[in-house]
């Protein structure tokens, strides 16, 4: 692997991290109005004490949190706190550190997202490949338009409909949440069943909503692969159709799908965050919703930073692995 390819991808990752941190630092400071003074004024209005010099109290707070220093010093400080994994404390669940809150939520989002993305990627790709295959059963063609329509609708709207259908009209599944609140989380069969039981509906929303997207991309790839000479050659050699389909067709068509997987991970992640909100799932989306309602700014910023960094890192890994998977790719440095 040429070194300048790796360097270029690494630089891109650094750029994303830089943008994420700078946006997180800069945007709240760009907006006019002083959050400290307005918070103090709200507090005072609630307690009825009006004889305090707001400016002086605010100045004391600013000195305490280093907000009286010049902007560049605050910016450097912010970078420093990120490297020491200090994202502040939650204002709502004071004094729980933001990092701790995020750490407890990440496994939920990661598991939900990984499992549903893998399922929809493979089911959708197989479906798409079969539609492009002339010998495929006719009924498959009927399946595709509904899936394509579903994929044009946001995941979380699908989630609402699923939640209503399968936990209100027919109460087969729990009405949201990540686990049975009275159970103790252990590694045993009952717990795992409970976790899966709670994850099925949110995962289904993500899967049903993205199958059409993968099917569409795969069909286009498969059609162009099936038109190539090596397929004709394999057919004239008399190879069994299954073998041609799987090893001569699908294998070649699947690799470019990995690229679109990498590109669309961001929108899948955004969608999953909202699905978690609908299902009250204890992942990043769930705590983001609570943080926004409670104006818990440090938690909001922490989650945002986490989402961007995690995605940037995983794309970096995909970019490095992908050329190893597909020898046809040329390194564009």
């Amino acid at each position: 692997m040429p070194i300048d390819y790796v360097v270029k991808r690494a630089l891109q990752l650094l750029l994303i991290i830089f943008i994420a941190v700078t946006v997180n630092f800069g945007i709240p400071r760009l907006i006019p109005g002083d959050p400290i003074e307005s918070a103090l004024q709200t507090k005072m209005a609630m307690t009825g004490n009006v004889n305090v010099d707001v400016q002086a109290v605010a100045a004391a707070y600013r000195a305490k949190f280093g907000l009286d220093k010049p902007l560049w010093a605050q910016y450097l400080n912010y970078w420093g706190s990120i490297f020491t994994r200090d994202l502040g404390v939650s204002l709502v669940d004071f004094p729980q550190p933001v990092v701790q809150k995020i750490q407890s939520a990440v496994p939920w989002t990661l598991a939900l997202l990984t499992v549903s993305t893998i399922i929809s990627f493979f089911v959708g790709s197989i479906l798409g490949a079969l539609i492009a295959w002339p010998r495929a059963p006719r009924f498959l063609h009927v399946l595709v338009p509904p899936f394509m329509l579903l994929s044009s609708v946001p995941f979380f709207l699908l989630g609402i409909v699923l939640l209503f259908t399968f936990s209100v009209i027919v109460p087969w599944f729990p009405p949201g949440g990540g686990f049975d609140p009275v159970s103790i989380l252990r590694v045993d069969v009952a717990t795992i069943t409970d976790l899966l039981y709670h994850a099925i509906l949110p995962a289904l929303a993500l899967v049903l909503g993205s199958i059409g997207f993968w099917a569409l991309g795969m069909r286009a790839m498969m059609v162009s692969v099936l038109g190539e000479d090596h397929i004709t050659f394999a057919e004239s050699k008399g190879l069994p159709p299954q073998r041609i389909f799987l090893w001569y067709g699908m294998r070649n068509a699947l690799l470019p799908q990995v690229t679109s997987l990498a590109i669309s991970l961001g929108s899948i992640l955004s969608g999953a965050v909202l699905v978690e909100v609908i299902f009250n799932y204890p992942g990043l989306g769930g705590i983001l919703f609570v943080a926004i309602s409670g104006k818990d700014y440090f938690v909001i910023q922490g989650i945002v930073l986490m989402l961007i960094l995690a995605l940037g890192l995983s794309l970096f890994v995909v970019d490095l692995i992908y050329p190893l998977l597909d020898p046809r790719i040329r390194y564009q440095a």
């Binding site: 760009l30 946001p154 939640l163 286009a220 991970l265 961001g266 909100v277 945002v304 961007i308």
Partner: protein, 301 residues
């Protein structure tokens, strides 16, 4: 707006006369999905323009009607648990959602068009900076950055909402326009124009731009659709405009009052139907436009 841009693409040939119009409708470039998408979008736009004049806006205020009523002859779409008439909210909210999408779509497309043209035409360092920036931002989960912006804004309005979404709506148009400019400027008729002594700007506006029109229309539909998706998501998180109804904020309130678990389907059902209708229409329109822009797609199906 979207209608005008979309119709401009096939309209290039309609200039020759009305008989050409019939030819266009039979042309293999015009697919069923383009027509269906156009009809659906026209319906939504008509409702948005004339609907708000036909309803009494005061019924959308808290406590205006009896709360939590299922649909009936009096309240056609029922009422929510804060005593607002759902039909009124829907008629008032749909245009606001469209407005956010249009503002973000127009701004995103304009920025994308300028950057894409610069990138494709000047090449070199300008191109590298723009492409790297667009590529990097494309991989960022846009909802995350928009959440930071929207959470920092004290008083959210429809216009600010549109601009927030537009901040991350320009990358796809930039990339599409850039790659098309790169391909068009290498074609022989551009060389002919250059040989005839046409200047750079003349080449840009007289040779390249007219051929970009279908791509611009397709990018516009894509940008509007992406913007509405992002805006509805932000609104569902509770970051929507403070003082008007939109489809997304309606979902937020229904979620806040657990309308799903309480079985009040008439609260979240209508916004879901409306949002899905808009998305399906835009999806049909964009796949129809793809076919106009890229005739090679026809042979594949």
């Amino acid at each position: 707006m979207s209608l005008a841009t979309a119709a401009a693409a096939p309209g290039r040939r309609a200039l020759f006369g009305t008989t050409a119009l019939r030819g266009i409708l039979r042309s293999p470039r015009i697919s069923g999905s383009l027509v269906a998408g156009l009809i659906m979008i026209t319906l939504v736009v008509l409702l948005s323009v004339f609907g708000p004049r036909l309803v009494n806006a005061r019924l959308a205020a808290v406590g205006a009607v009896r709360p939590s009523q299922a649909p009936s002859a009096q309240y056609l779409l029922g009422t929510d648990s804060q005593g607002r008439d759902m039909l009124t909210i829907m008629v008032l909210g749909t245009p606001q959602t469209l407005r956010i999408g249009l503002i973000a779509g127009v701004v995103g497309l304009a920025v994308g068009l300028v950057l894409g043209l610069m990138s494709g035409f000047f090449g070199g360092k300008v191109d590298s900076v723009i492409s790297v920036l667009a590529d990097s931002l494309l991989t960022v989960p846009s909802l995350a950055i928009m959440v930071v912006i929207a959470a920092s804004v004290g008083h959210m309005t429809v216009e600010l909402m549109g601009l927030t979404v537009a901040a991350l709506a320009w990358m796809h148009p930039t990339r599409t326009i850039r790659s098309q400019v790169l391909s068009i400027r290498e074609r022989s008729y551009v060389s002919v124009a250059r040989a005839n002594g046409e200047g750079e700007l003349g080449v840009l506006f007289r040779e390249v731009m007219p051929n970009l029109v279908p791509y611009i229309a397709a990018s516009f539909v894509g940008a509007v659709s992406g913007a509405i998706l992002a805006a509805v998501g932000l609104e569902a998180l509770g970051l929507g405009p403070n003082d008007v109804h939109t489809l997304g904020t309606t979902i937020y309130w229904s979620q806040k009052f657990s309308a799903v678990l309480r079985g009040q389907w008439w609260w979240w059902g209508p916004p879901i139907v409306a949002i899905s209708f808009i998305f399906v229409a835009l999806f049909l329109l964009s796949s129809g436009l793809d076919r106009v822009a890229n005739p090679k797609l026809r042979q594949r199906t």
